[in-house]
């Protein structure tokens, strides 16, 4: 099966990443002037809480600019990069978000079984015994192991 390719080339990807990182450093540099809370006392010779973040954000900005320039150089790779957004991972991500949300209502057991069933289905699992057996098996095995043996609290849900 051939690997899918993105419409973005590696150099365009680097350019995009460089611009995003530069924007991040500029925005967060601005936020470094709006830290909340107060220093209890002025400690002699202390560089203060904002010194290192600003130094690092400055460094990040310079590195981002270097990435932008390197993406514009003649040697930059113009081969296509791996596609950034593919349907399957995005759908899986959405299912995971819903799963996190559902645990608050239905608790770990029901939400996990529902999530695993949905995830298997989305990933193309059609073997009926896998769909019937694996979700409850994994759910109860992890619940027993973490909840009962290791005494780790797992969400019980607001409905129960």
């Amino acid at each position: 099966m051939g690997e899918k390719q993105s419409s973005l080339s590696v150099k365009q990807g680097d350019l995009t990443a460089g611009i995003l990182l530069l924007s991040f450093s500029v925005v967060f540099y601005y936020f470094s002037y709006h830290f909340s809370g107060y220093e209890i006392e002025t400690i002699p010779h202390d560089t203060g809480p904002a010194f290192l973040p600003r130094l690092l954000l400055g460094a990040l900005a310079m590195e981002a600019i270097a990435l932008i320039f390197s993406s514009m150089s003649k040697n930059a790779q113009s081969v296509p990069m791996k596609p950034v957004f593919q349907l399957k991972p995005m759908v899986m991500l959405a299912a995971f978000v819903i799963y996190i949300y559902l645990t608050t209502f239905f608790g770990y057991i029901i939400a996990t079984m529902a999530f695993m069933l949905l995830a298997f289905f989305l990933l193309g699992v059609r073997a009926i015994w896998t769909l019937i057996l694996v979700p409850p098996l994994i759910t109860f095995a992890t619940y027993f192991l973490f909840g009962s043996v290791l005494n780790i609290y797992l969400p019980s849900g607001s409905l129960f």
Binding site: S32, H45, P53, P89, M92, L93, T112, F120, I138, I152
Partner: protein, 494 residues
């Protein structure tokens, strides 16, 4: 020391820990066998199991998984020409050709024996080196810790290739910035928390680790099509005794490669892949028949496996003695220490000496178990290669949920793992390495506190960083590494 050594062995040989090890060693081999899962994801996913255990059981379990996973990578490398872990890349070079010649069993036996012997040599080195370094490190002040933290970060960043150097540098800086999130340690100023109370104590390490390494990998696995698994032939059996005799014939390669692995592993930011490349190249250079390398030469297989497994002991030296993780897996393991209220570093030898020696003893026991499981379980472990990604992905995500949730029983932490999962997924697409972020997050607070305290002690004089001898040496070496990298980048082609 003797007291702690005996106490450590007592812990390692307790029925409870032996039972835990008898599960965790095969579990480690299983995660190592699966391409795409590997040691990093395996240790991350199994991290939550340690939360409900006592400190020694939990940490020793992870150590056993760590050792098992490094051997596991060889199984898939030999049988399907796909390394389960990056460390086993060189194993494919001679392991797979051996399998094609009908010598898969011999290759697997050679891999397990070389792995075990390499691992044992590194544990012996760890047992002697770590306490010595820790004793020296007890005299370190904030200045030395600042220098060592900077050295660790730079080593991780510069270990990448020419193409990934800038991206590694960016990720290291990004990790250091993330480490500044939360309440300033020397005041009450909230930095980059945006009024979110959960961020006041900084970014929690475990959700970040789970997100970056497990959730992102699960998302990447969903993109892959089903693997075509065609296992190498295992008809011809090779006995263990016979293999030990073969190892005796290749003792120089074994000893040299184990030494390389332990040494390389002890340098922060290097890791098992680099160790096995160096050891493989050295074995090929020293061989009387270099032309046979890559065509099923057992010497190459021994070099690769003994070196990558000896990294396990080496990588624990800086973690246990200085509190500086040697590779991403030991960085993740640091999370297990912190969850149990233990801070790796020289004080660990004072405060929890028996635990440290229990780790050493556990590694020796784990390697003996690897020999047993690896030799007798070659066929069942090979069958694991047939498990599809479509089954693995939901299981990884469910355990990631537990891992992120378990420490603080907080759904905010799960959300954070999700955010870092997406970030890790995107960074992977743009070819940014993830390990420097983790090193930045772990070493950032050490570096900042070290710098600020040093400047306060020296009345604001930056010269303190170079007038303290150990700090000067580490910063000097760091500078040399940067200059050498800069020279290579500017004047050399590839």
């Amino acid at each position: 020391m003797l007291e702690n050594l005996l106490a450590g062995w007592q812990i390692a040989l307790s029925p409870q820990l032996l039972l835990i090890l008898s599960f965790s060693v095969p579990l480690g081999i299983i995660v190592g066998v699966m391409p795409g899962v590997g040691a990093v994801v395996g240790v991350t996913v199994l991290l939550p199991l340690t939360f409900g255990m006592d400190a020694s059981s939990g940490i020793c379990m992870l150590v056993a998984v760590y050792c098992g996973a490094f051997y596991g990578g060889a199984v898939s490398a030999i049988l399907i020409n796909t390394p389960g872990t990056p460390a086993a890349i060189c194993t494919t070079l001679d392991g797979y050709p051996m399998a094609l010649k009908g010598e898969a069993h011999k290759a697997l036996t050679a891999a397990v024996v070389a792995s075990v012997l390499g691992g044992l040599i590194s544990v012996i080195a760890l047992t002697f080196a770590a306490p010595f370094i820790a004793t020296v490190a007890l005299k370190f002040s904030y200045t030395e810790y600042f220098a060592i933290a900077i050295f660790g970060i730079i080593m991780v960043i510069t270990s990448g290739s020419r193409k990934s150097f800038l991206k590694g540098l960016i990720m290291g800086t990004f990790g250091l910035i993330l480490a500044t999130v939360g309440q300033d340690k020397m005041g009450t100023v909230e930095r980059f928390t945006f009024g979110i109370l959960d961020l006041s104590r900084g970014l929690p390490l475990l959700p970040v680790v789970v997100g970056l390494f497990a959730v992102s990998q699960a998302l990447l696995l969903t993109e892959q099509g089903a693997r075509a698994v065609q296992l190498g032939k295992m008809e011809q059996k090779t006995g263990l005794w016979e293999m030990f005799k073969i190892m005796w014939d290749h003792k120089m390669t074994l000893l040299k490669s184990s030494g390389i692995g332990t040494g390389v592993g002890a340098i922060p930011g290097t890791g098992a892949a680099i160790a096995s490349f160096v050891a493989y190249s050295e074995a090929k250079r020293a061989s009387k028949h270099p032309e046979t390398f890559g065509e099923g030469e057992i010497d190459g297989l021994i070099a690769s496996e003994s070196s990558n497994n000896s990294v396990t002991g080496g990588a624990l030296i800086p973690l246990l003695s200085l509190g500086i993780p040697g590779d991403p897996i030991t960085a993740i393991m640091m999370g297990a220490f912190l969850v149990h209220g233990l801070i790796p570093g020289p004080m660990l030898f004072v405060e929890a000496g028996s635990l440290v020696y229990a780790i050493f003893a556990t590694m020796l026991v784990a390697y003996v178990m690897i020999l047993v499981f690896g030799y007798f379980g070659a066929r069942p472990f090979a069958a694991i290669l047939k498990v599809k990604e479509s089954i693995l992905v939901p299981i990884i995500l469910v355990i990631s949920f537990i891992g992120a949730y378990a420490v603080n029983s907080s759904l905010f932490d799960v959300g954070l793992a999700l955010v870092f999962g997406i970030l890790g997924y995107l960074l992977n697409k743009f070819n940014f390495p993830l390990a420097p972020i983790l090193m930045g997050i772990i070493l950032g607070p050490i570096a900042e506190e070290g710098l600020r305290q040093s400047l306060m002690v020296s009345d604001g004089s930056w010269s303190i960083l170079v007038t303290q001898p150990i700090s000067a040496v580490f910063l000097g070496v760091t500078l040399l590494i940067i200059l050498r990298k800069a020279y290579v980048l500017v004047f050399k082609k590839e």
